[in-house]
Amino acid sequence: MKYWPLVAIPLSWILQVLLAARFGPINAIPDIPLLLAAFSGLLMGPDAGAATGFFAGLLQDISFGRYIGVHALSRAACGFVSGYAGKRVLPDSLAVPFLVGFGATLLDDLVSLVIFGVAGAGTFVLRRQMLVLTASAYNALLGPLAFMLVSRLSSGKPTQGKM
């Protein structure tokens, strides 16, 4: 089970593709690779979270074919920050999976926005506030499930997180 992210990363992306197809092109959607990155970080530490997030995001970038690198970096940041927060900031509470799901979405959006800006890639402004909030709510609701799955996959032993 040591190398479970090698399976979980492509699987999360395939799930995301299938999930996205069920939502219209203008609606907010939950983000499975992001949840994988955030909870990998929370349960396995910042380095593992960053690495999982990077490759999960890179796969998503390649499948889209433009702006390659944005998701790789934003998900890596989410994995790293949730790992860091899991070690030092987050309290031992049942609300943590919800908070991580919600917070990771906002952070992912913020980091993406910065990268788009730095890379001079288009004029992205906070044009989809409602989409971001809805996606954050979806991810918060899916947080406990993602937490359980990642916890189970990583041998059920939260190695560095506080949970």
Binding site: A21, G65, I68, F116, G120
Partner: protein
């Protein structure tokens, strides 16, 4: 021990910084128009497309079964109504056939060649962008069906967008609603020109007129102008929802409600440009 920790921390910092720089550079390089798709992208597409197609078919079967049960009473009433209308349409069709025949004869007389420069490739919508940043859909036709980049894509009601990435079996369509989308347009009634662009949170299009004195009214139909290199003229984009009056502004703008319902796109028509005309 502390030195080791510090070294490890420094190495991690350098690696992180290199990754950030590399990612930003690649993002910048891949932000504009790209040429052909890479082998990796084609491989990714080959993995995903069968799954998308199956998911699409399963979802469609569920949707049709559900609507069949729900709509059975409505369908009965509709059937009666349609029977009545069929007889009316039959008589109209006779008149229409006459008019078409007359038109054909007159064209031949005037020496006009049949003008049908566009061909359409019908395609099922099998997916969408997997994130909340881009407004794109994926259709189940690609280069194997002859599709190329920057071909216009329509719904039965109006313009949807253009193809931005074509793999063997699928094409990604950038919708008009996306921040990166824009199209040259005309107000059909007054023939005043402008540009529509996406990126709004209310899913309307912003139309910026070239002239401050442009004659735009609410309800006006907006069609493509044909001035750009991608969209031919005359494709319905939508109708003017609101004219924004800026008394001292240099430009005039309006909000356009798209003719296509972007929330419910199931099929699309990819428009093949006439032979000899290559897209950008």
């Amino acid at each position: 021990m502390m030195l080791l920790d510090r070294r490890y921390g420094l190495r991690r910092l350098i690696l992180g910084a290199l990754l950030v720089i590399a990612a930003v550079a690649v993002t910048s390089l891949t932000s504009g128009e790209r040429g052909a798709t890479t082998g990796i992208e084609n491989l990714v597409d080959d993995v995903v497309f069968p799954l998308q197609a199956v998911a699409h078919r399963v979802a469609q079967s569920f949707a049709s079964a559900r609507s069949w049960f729900a709509d059975i009473n409505r369908l009965k009433a509709e059937n009666e109504e349609l029977k009545k209308r069929t007889s009316e349409i039959d008589s109209i069709k006779v008149q229409l056939d006459d008019a078409l025949n007359e038109n054909r004869r007159l064209r031949e007389l005037a020496g006009f060649a049949e003008r049908s420069p566009f061909a359409f490739i019908p395609a099922d919508v099998v997916g969408r962008s997997t994130d909340n940043w881009f407004s794109t859909i994926v259709v189940g036709r690609g280069s194997l069906s002859g599709v190329e980049k920057n071909w216009p894509v329509l719904s039965s009601k109006g313009l949807l967008g253009r193809t931005i990435k074509v793999t063997a079996r699928t094409s990604t369509v950038l919708l008009l609603l996306d921040t990166d989308s824009s199209a040259g347009v005309l107000v059909e009634r007054s023939r005043d020109a402008g540009i529509v662009s996406g990126g709004r949170s209310d899913n309307l299009l912003k139309m910026t007129m070239f002239s401050r004195d442009a004659d735009v009214r609410e309800g006006d139909s907006v069609v493509t102008s044909g001035l750009g290199s991608i969209y031919p003229g005359g494709l319905l984009v939508g109708s003017v929802e609101k004219v924004e009056r800026e008394e001292y502004g240099l430009i005039k703008s309006a909000l356009v409600r798209p003719a296509s319902d972007f929330g419910r796109i199931e099929e699309a028509l990819i428009m093949r440009p006439p032979a000899g005309e290559k897209p950008r």
